[in-house]
């Protein structure tokens, strides 16, 4: 997807967090390169990818950090989610323990991360419905209660993969517009003050 030359490109740091083997790297590979590798090696440390996404008339360039899921590398995660514009917490719908771990990541993000970080909850391996262990409703409820948006994805079949990143980009741009609104509110205060002043003059 090519960006329009004249348009502004906004850089966004995005981090993927989640238990080992939930498919974080597969999600990123599907999004960035359109590939799926059946037997993906575990990520060690973190892998970096870059991908540009066009949303309406604007362009978002994601700087994607695909982190290691092993507990041993948990302490490296703050370096990657610190200052991130968005985070995708990934769990495996066929593995209830990974959902438990995902909740802990959400708690850590909310406790230590940037309050403005856009958070997404991704239930990966949605194509393996026979082996499902995490009901979609349960995850959806948890997401709503904690301010995340939720999608079930499948890196294998590409279901909802682009939609997750697209939704994040949209919310990033909306957040940018929301920051402009308060200035307008400040402007609205002045006419009221003037009216008060006029009233004072009259009285």
């Amino acid at each position: 997807m090519a960006a329009n030359p004249g348009n502004k490109i906004r850089n966004a740091k995005l981090v993927l967090l989640g238990d080992v083997g939930t498919g974080k790297s597969s999600l990123v590979l599907r999004f960035v390169k359109g590939q799926f590798v059946e037997f993906q090696e575990s990520t060690i440390g973190a892998a970096f990818f870059s991908q540009t996404l066009a949303v309406n008339d604007e362009t978002v360039k994601f700087e994607i950090w695909d982190t290691a899921g092993q507990e041993r590398y948990h302490s490296l995660a703050p370096m990657y989610y610190r200052g991130a514009a968005a985070a995708i917490v990934v769990y495996d719908i066929t593995n209830a323990a990974s959902f438990t771990r995902a909740k802990k990541w959400v708690q850590e993000l909310q406790a230590q991360g940037n309050p403005n970080t856009i958070m997404a909850l991704a239930g990966n391996k949605a194509d393996m419905v026979e082996a499902r262990q995490v009901p979609a409703e349960e995850a959806k409820t948890y997401a709503q209660e904690n301010g995340l948006f939720f999608m079930e994805t499948s890196a294998k079949t590409a279901i909802n993969v682009n939609d997750v990143f697209h939704e994040i980009a949209k919310r990033l741009l909306q957040g940018q517009q929301a920051q402009d609104t308060p200035a307008g509110m400040v402007l609205n205060q002045r006419p009221a003050e003037r009216m008060v002043s006029s009233s004072s003059c009259c009285s």
Binding site: G45, A46, F48, R72
Partner: protein, 936 residues
Amino acid sequence: MGSNTPPSRAALEPFATLDPAALAGLPASSPLTVRSAAISSPYLYLGTGGGKLLLFTLDSPSPDFLRLLPIGPTRPVSAILPLPAVARLLLLADGLLLLADPLLSRPVRRLGSVRNVAAVAARASESDDDRPSCSLAVSVGKKLLLVDLTLHDADELEVRTRDIALVDGVKALAWVGDSVFVGTASGYSLFSTTNAQGGDIFTLPESSRPPRVKPLSGGDEVMLLVDNVGVVVDRSGHPVGSSFVFNTTPDCIAEVYPYVVVAGDSKVDVYRRKNGAHLQAIPFARPGTGGLIVASEDAGIGSDVVVIATAYKVFCYRKVSAVEQIKALLRRKSYAEAISLLQEFEADGEISNDMISFVHAQLGFLLFFDLRFEDAVNHFLLSETMQPAEIFPFIMRDPNRWSDLVPRKRYWGLHAPPKPLEEVIDDGLVTLQQALFLKKAGVDTVVDDDFLSNPPSRADLLEVAIRNIIRYLCASREKDLSSSEMEGVDTLLMYLYRALNLVDDMEKLASSQNSCVVEELESLLDDSGHLRTLAFLYGSKGMCSKSLGIWRILARNYSTGLWKDHAILPETDSLETSVGKMSGEEIAAVEASKILQASSDQDLVLEHLGWVADIDQELATAILTSEMREKQLSPEKVVAAIDPEKVGIHQRYLQWLIEEQECDEPHYHTSYALSLSRSAMDAVRLGSNNEERNNKEFDSDMQFIYLLRERLQFFLQSSDLYDPEEVLYVISESELWLEKAILYRKMGQENIVLQILALKLEDSEAAEQYCAEIGRDDAYIQLLDLYLDPKNGKGPMFTAAVRLLHNHGESLDPIQVLERLSADMPLQLASDTILRMLRARVHHHRQGQVVHNLSRATNLDARLTRLEERSRHVQLTDESICDSCRARLGTKLFVMYPDDSVVCYRCYRNQGDSASPHGRNFRKGGIFKQSWLVSR
């Protein structure tokens, strides 16, 4: 992310091995163990466990031992930091910081009073101060100190120390930019040297190896180790790129850009900095004590030397350049790896475009000599600097026209000089046979396995080779080449097409714009019977006479059945026009006409016109009437050359000459008219003699005759330059009456024209139209006479006469009409018309009377008005003045205007009688006075 491919390259190559003890001249009884190493070009420093410092130079072909400096027998040297900015060497020995001069010519001196130093790091980037200086970060106990060293005159060193932080358990330090990176057992932190603020980067997991910190990329980045994972961060502590994954847990790290060199247990691994790919593994025997040490120059990116030290030996390695690495692979015939490596270097920008082209060309030649012609040409095509002439020797044996053109490039001397293709294949097949023999004997070779399992035949190889060289030469034609090289490309391309008998390609190349050298090809093409190609080639080179000669021969051979051109098929695209299936004879004529249409050589055109006309008269006509030639042919010679029997060509040529070339020579106009006339007469005669044929043919013939006569009539009408008498003589005995009428009209024979139109053709409308054209009224009388007295035994044409009287009666004089009506005229036919004519005359007379009398009345009224105007009275008094000059009139002569203004006679003379002093102009707007006949 690490690469799974086992490392198979030599990114670093050894160039020296040092035995420090032997070189220093120490006896075997006092062992020397290396504990630390550092490089500061051109010097190599080694620190020993026994408290000695050794200096070597790396300048000469092999390192030379220079000097040994004892520090203290109980002080093992654990770190050496060159400080070139202040001309010092910093040593960390047994917790003390010592300073030495770069040449080790003076005893070491202690730096400050600090002891128990755990770690030390020098600022990586250069200082901006005016004075030469550098800064150190030192960890002492729980303190993190900054030590600033400034060099003054007379080699005096100023030392200033300040605290910036409290950190416990520091094990590793690095200083890049304004940040000091601190590694402790619990994790990594970053401290700013400007404001002393600190921040955590990440914590280490439990039971981790000790932290290691290494500046990278010339001081722009820092690698922080976690187990066997290297996390790279920038100066602000933010992560950069994917993590490195090392095969072993690193003990020591060095950078020789673009590689990271890692020493682990008993081996050294080389990784590519940009993508963490594992390139090379260098095994070392496990040392008795201590681990491996790797050292390189930290100052910049430009260094290319790395030193690997064991306890008792030092190995010096040099970075192998990108070109050398590729060359080594090519030398082993590892083509796939070389290509992969080339793409890698190309992506990283480590190799210039010219070198990339060079490598592609070299690869191409190597593959060519290995008989892999398709791959070879693919690489030739990727090389932008390779010249097409370099492959000429494969095609044509030296010496030839282009021998001097072939650049004598030796490349890397990995392949034999190019030689004729057959020899390359024969040699390759010999090598293949030897490889087969060796393989059966159990010996591996570098020959392609596909070839070994399925050996190709010589003929197949030759064809594949030629086809691929053709592909290369075709691509070369798109380049900007010198004219002589382009000649070589095109000529040899034709040569190769001929070798494979690719007739369509030969003809396409020969007939398009090309740089073939005819002298090199004509005898070959003639011998092999490629006459069509030769004809096309002659044509594209402007050798029209030779080309036409061949087409003529081909046409003759086709017509006699001697020549059967199997390449001529309905599907072939070598012909621009394919209307159904043309015979070879016709094709030859078509090709010849293309040349003749563009040729201004009159003799050549007329020489070949005959045989082309024999085959196709349309082509002959196209040749004669071509607009493509710069100088048109002489009509006189053309007409003389045209076979009189080929009337169509003659007519079409004359038509073109007259209508398009606007020739105004009466002779040709007359010739054209005569030719058309004869054709029309023949057609009419032929048509009338075959009235018994079926209706379809009859209609077709009628249509043909009609069109032919229409063309004749059109020309006779529109041209004024032919001789009508001559044409008239030719058609005098024919039934071409309309044509005769046109001719008599050109000759001004009005009466004869009227006779033909009115009596022969009985076309009253045309006859009346002709009378109108004549423009005189007596023409109608003349026509009336013809109608009433046709002569030649024909009866009076009363109907036509009445119609004439009806249409143009008012133009005729009734007396003349009545005089011409004979006593035999049945008056009941014309009575109405004659009556109307006579009444019109009476009407005209009476109308004239009315107009006459009305004019007399108007004249009378005007005279009366004038009289009244002249009878007006004006009263003058003594006070009356001129309306113009305001002078008193008195007894002067005066004038009164119609608007009652009065002026003296002198003013009247001055301003005339058209304008009054009141500004009225009587000439433009008159004054209307009321009268009894004319009112306003």
